[in-house]
């Protein structure tokens, strides 16, 4: 604990990074591809589920539309028309999905996508498994549904990254503790002392390890957000949505 009460908090926020939106709009094909890959990693699951549940498409058609959507993002340079001051990126993307499906033309879609551009394969089967737990969103809850799926995607990606980081630094117990205490049902009702006994560590270690893992998790989530937001205002709003318990 610092005993001063300085109001600036260095390290609380990740430094500004090259926004993926700027990258995706770049004239450099490689830069655009890199930017788009980050967008795809965060959004393909929400988009696929959204198409399946909101638009009632079967899995084959939803796969086709999901891939087509991201190809169009790259080929048609859709992100060039995105204005951060007017909407959040995820709202923009959701509206683009709606637009694509409303103007769906299968023949044109298949004809235009020649297969010359390839992204990493998307694991649609695993998402189908996840969707057994999902309900069809009511028309007035569409935005909430998409937001929740987006949050799930960002958190899952961040956890994956945290696990890799912890393994590289020899802090597997830190990650395992977070997984056990903050995610799994089994750890929900336990005290730190009980968890310490279960893991064979001291109670103070539980406090410190969990604090470390949570701090790193927050940092990674905010880094993802920093990359995927077009303005400081949007970053703050999305950070509130993801990490704040209330909206601003």
């Amino acid at each position: 604990m610092r005993d001063d009460t300085k109001l600036d908090a260095p390290g609380q926020f990740p430094p500004t990074r090259w926004s993926v939106i700027v990258a995706a709009r770049s004239m450099e094909p490689e830069e655009r591809r890199r930017g788009l890959e980050v967008v795809i990693a965060a959004y393909w699951r929400p988009v696929y589920k959204y198409i399946r549940l909101r638009w009632g498409k079967d899995s084959e058609e939803a796969k086709d539309l999901t891939q087509d959507f991201f190809f169009r993002l790259l080929e048609k340079d859709l992100l060039a028309s995105y204005e951060p001051q007017r909407a959040r990126l995820r709202t923009f993307l959701r509206v683009c999905v709606d637009h694509l499906i409303a103007n769906d033309d299968k023949a044109r879609r298949r004809l235009k996508r020649g297969g010359e551009i390839e992204f990493q394969p998307l694991d649609f089967e695993s998402v189908e498994g996840e969707m057994q737990h999902s309900e069809i969103p009511a028309p007035d809850r569409v935005e909430d549904f998409f937001e929740r799926e987006w949050a799930r995607s960002i958190f899952s990606l961040s956890l994956q990254r945290l696990q890799q980081d912890c393994e590289q630094r020899g802090k597997q117990t830190h990650f395992r503790l977070l997984e056990f205490y903050d995610i799994e049902e089994a750890g929900k009702e336990l005290t730190y002392a009980q968890v310490a006994r279960q893991f064979g560590v001291k109670t103070s270690d539980v406090t410190n390890y969990l604090a470390y893992a949570r701090r790193e998790f927050r940092r990674i989530v905010l880094e993802h957000l920093r990359e995927m937001t077009g303005s400081e205002t949007e970053f703050r709003r999305e950070a509130h949505t993801l990490l704040g318990m209330k909206r601003p």
Binding site: M1, R2, G11, Q12, S156
Partner: protein, 325 residues
């Protein structure tokens, strides 16, 4: 990639919000509540072996606005040493950069819960008097609360009252109440004389409990009368569910919540005095009465003696009648 259920997502979100207490004297226990700029947590002070409440700003505060507000709140409360105002123990910055302060862990019920479980009018009015005492003390030290409502008032196990959440407090200029009471320390020690947001006329407070001038964002007009208004609403809240109210009490609540500032009580003390008058069966300022009204209140006030005398007279009469036979 690991799939997260809705419950896991919520738990992880809540966990990410837990303050980083590593390396501090505090041990995590549980979250107690959520406010506009952060959360309140139950933690154990390992150095002293006791539980305290820790209030920390939310993790996302890039402009430092919440941090400034929390720090200011802690300093204001620290100056207000009164049994009705929760004491601050410690202030600082956690390893995750969040500004926090710790305070006494209040074990009791919020006023809304208290109302559901408490007794009749006199008991509730005595509780209300204690609320008025704490607010009046703050006013005497040039501090306005500006967010008085049942959710910000706790009633302890032994009937003690604690006014909480001074996050929207406003410091009145020195030279007004402070000098009049000879207690101008706060104005000298805490830099801003008004809340950072209030300089621009932002509306801060809770609808339903906010004075009209506060709701309109008329910063210069917001004074002790705004807290009087909120207390009037708290009084109405406290008296709900007790059936038809005596006219004098209705008049007191009405005068406290008058839309026109000029028609309200001039101070919390005046409001509290009227409540005390009512409890003692004396006339109240808010409800002037004619001679018959005064007589009736006199009868009510002395009803025990009057009943005793009447009983004595009745017995004497019966005795005389019996002797006459």
């Amino acid at each position: 990639m690991k799939w997260l259920s809705d419950a896991a997502l919520d738990r992880l979100r809540a966990a990410a919000d837990i303050p980083d207490l590593s390396g501090t004297r505090y041990l995590w226990v549980e979250k107690l509540g959520e406010g506009g700029m952060g959360g309140v947590y139950r933690v154990e002070d390992a150095a002293l072996g006791r539980q305290v409440a820790l209030k920390a700003i939310r993790i996302v505060d890039p402009s430092g606005q919440f941090a400034a507000r929390l720090l200011r709140e802690a300093k204001i409360i620290a100056q207000l040493e009164h049994p009705g105002i929760v004491p601050v123990h410690d202030v600082g910055t956690l390893p995750d950069g969040r500004v926090f302060y710790t305070m006494k862990l209040v074990r009791g019920r919020r006023l809304d819960q208290y109302r559901a479980e408490s007794g009749g009018v006199p008991e509730r009015l005595r509780t209300f008097q204690k609320i008025c005492e704490a607010v009046s003390f703050a006013h005497a030290h040039s501090v306005l609360h500006r967010d008085l409502k049942p959710q910000n008032i706790m009633v302890g196990r032994f009937g003690e009252v604690l006014v909480m959440d001074w996050g929207l407090a406003k410091l009145l200029n020195r030279g007004s109440l402070a000098e009049a009471e000879g207690a101008g320390r706060i104005g000298a020690e805490i830099e801003p004389t008004s809340h950072p947001d209030t300089a621009h006329g932002a509306v801060l407070g809770t609808p339903g409990y906010m004075a009209p001038e506060q709701a309109r964002g008329e910063i210069s007009a917001v004074g002790p009368g705004a807290d009087v208004y909120s207390l009037g609403e708290v009084l109405k809240f406290l008296l709900q569910g007790l059936g038809p109210m005596p006219k004098a009490l209705v008049a007191i609540a009405g005068k406290a919540t008058a839309q026109d500032l000029e028609r309200r009580y001039g101070s919390v003390e005046e409001l509290a005095n009227d409540i005390a008058q009512y409890l003692d069966g004396l006339p109240v300022r808010a409800y002037p009465q004619g001679p018959m009204g005064h007589l009736w209140r006199w009868v009510i006030r002395n009803r025990a003696w009057i009943l005793l005398i009447l009983a004595y007279l009745a017995m004497r009469a019966l005795f005389i009648l019996w002797r006459a036979r």
